[in-house]
């Protein structure tokens, strides 16, 4: 018996159908489990194990390898500041320190209310737009310490349900790695990447 709703199970079936072998669906199913519970729970991993015919321990061994599968509850907003080489050269450490100070949340921790997690991350591929910050994996480029503080205040006060990259870039960003050109609608609703790979289905009887 699945602990997931019929709607979520439908998505899980679509995910499994996109791979020649079931086990390959573990990674997208782990994200799906996170979207159900807000983070990766033991129950979520047990459910994923049933979908791919493995033991929960085998699923845990995979999940624990990857840093984006959060096995403890994070804040509603996961604020990730890059402090790898290119961002460090542009003051990434200062941006991180400013956001820690403004939020009162030390690097890697979550506030008492469960609203904000602040973490430093290794390179997120935005080196031309250093310093790069992501909120729930939605990007802001060209962040300064002052703008980082403003971002933290905004998240605390405005508490957006959907985190939109273009809105945040306009409010808190400056220089970008390249011209983003076109604005997007929508965004992330939790601390996992806003990507639902349901558009592709395998054809026929392959």
């Amino acid at each position: 018996m699945s602990v997931w709703s019929e709607e979520v199970q439908e998505r899980a079936r679509a995910i499994v159908a996109r791979y020649p072998e079931k086990r390959s669906a573990i990674m997208p199913l782990l994200y799906l489990a996170m979207s159900v519970d807000g983070y990766l729970t033991d129950e979520g991993m047990e459910e994923v194990a049933r979908w791919v015919d493995l033991t929960p321990a085998q699923v845990l061994s995979v999940a624990s390898f990857y840093s984006m599968y959060k096995r403890e509850r994070t804040g509603k907003y996961l604020v990730s500041c890059c402090t790898s080489i290119s961002c460090m050269l542009a003051g990434g450490d200062d941006v991180l320190a400013a956001m820690e100070d403004e939020s009162g949340v030390p690097d890697g921790e979550t506030d008492e209310e469960g609203l904000l997690t602040v973490e430093h991350v290794e390179c997120i591929g935005s080196c031309g737009g250093a310093v790069a910050v992501q909120v729930n994996y939605e990007l802001i480029e060209g962040v300064t310490p002052e703008k980082g503080r403003a971002l933290v205040r905004w998240l605390k006060e405005a508490r957006p349900e959907v985190v939109n990259t273009d809105e945040m870039q306009t409010l808190f960003g400056s220089r970008t790695s390249f011209d983003w050109a076109v604005k997007e609608e929508g965004g992330a609703v939790g601390p996992y990447p806003a990507f639902q790979p349901l558009g592709t289905v395998r054809g026929g009887d392959e």
Binding site: V52, F65, I85, S86, L89, S177
Partner: protein, 441 residues
Amino acid sequence: MSTLIVTRRMNEHPTDSHTIDRYIATGGYEQARRAVTTLTRDELVEEVKASGLLGRGGAAFSAGLKWSFLAPERPAYLVVNGDESEPGTFKDRQLLERDPHQLVEGIIIAAYANEVHHAFVYIRGEYAKPARRLQQAVDEAYARGFLGRNVFGSGYDLELTVHLGAGAYICGEETALINSLEGKRGEPRLKPPYFPAAKGLYMKPTIVNNVETISNIPHILAMGAPRYAEVSPSPDTGTFLMSLSGHVRKPGNYEVFHGITWRELIYEVGGGIPEDRGLKAWIPGGASAPWFVPELHLDMEITKDAVAGAGSMIGSGAVIVMDEDTCVVRAAERVVRFYAHESCGQCTPCREGTTWMEMILRRIEEGQGRAIDLDLLIDVSDGISVGLNWPPKMTTICPLGPSAVSPVIALKEYFRDEVDAHVRNGGCPFPRSRAHAGVSE
């Protein structure tokens, strides 16, 4: 300095280069249609070989040659590596966001040429927006009959799955990527088998190519291999996307021919260093590459062979520039910290060595360094990468550990005095805050 190839459409049509309508209006999918309906596998492999196209993921290996190595067993798979995680590199992100159909068309041609019926694009987990853009393009291609059953009415079937990683740099290594795609921990595979082309995904013959490599394929067909091979004055054919970051006035991705000098790249293309500060060093090909310094390397022409001849690599094309106020100990610590964090843990020299190196560098930077620390650092590095050369003599399954040694080579060769000064002075002589160092004037 170049003829634009893979960034031409996004430059000429900035507001809609990612849409299928613009793509088709600018000749898109014509080469895939021609390949699938009129060309053979052998003709396509020969065409790509003749183009001289080098892989753009870091190893700069001939793409056509790689295709020709594909073992005859079937099914075979095509995996496009979009795990772009090498610090300094952000070119594939631009290709994915701004011209995703170019990649999809390249995939159709590459898959058909390699008798593949299921292709994958593995995109790093933090690239949510690039993945969304690509998935939209894939959905549109399915809807038009360019993917799925009976591609272009030719009887050829091709499925394409976009797969999201979850925050592990090591999955950019092709055998780790394959393990990850199989639903396993992203640990590189012990060799042999040496090449995924023999035993790759599900132990079947597999081609793994980078996003930029595959994005070039439609253009090779459109231009024809001879013209593509001649477009660049450099022995490295075609154009290269170079990601410029760090202390330059105009960071960004630049599509250039190889053969320009580092001076031209940093001072003309990149606009020089903010406030005309001096140049201290740069990393020529992603964080894994041994560093270059102006006294020795500024007037070197950028080609695969010239850079390799000087003991480094063009790698992923990422150039990270450090000005004269940069503390090289801190910069080295930051590069080493990355590899310590991303080590998969299989091989002892890498797992233990990178962490040890990070500790040594941090204590030097923070004023607790000892006089023997640089020699200790070199000794630990030698345990990971024997002789401290590039390409490395490996003690590990993959090059991640040896990559962490690259900044130590720079400290040993060029910056011994600066390390000693940290130890003597009990800490770092450079300003702690660089909050405005990168901001253009």
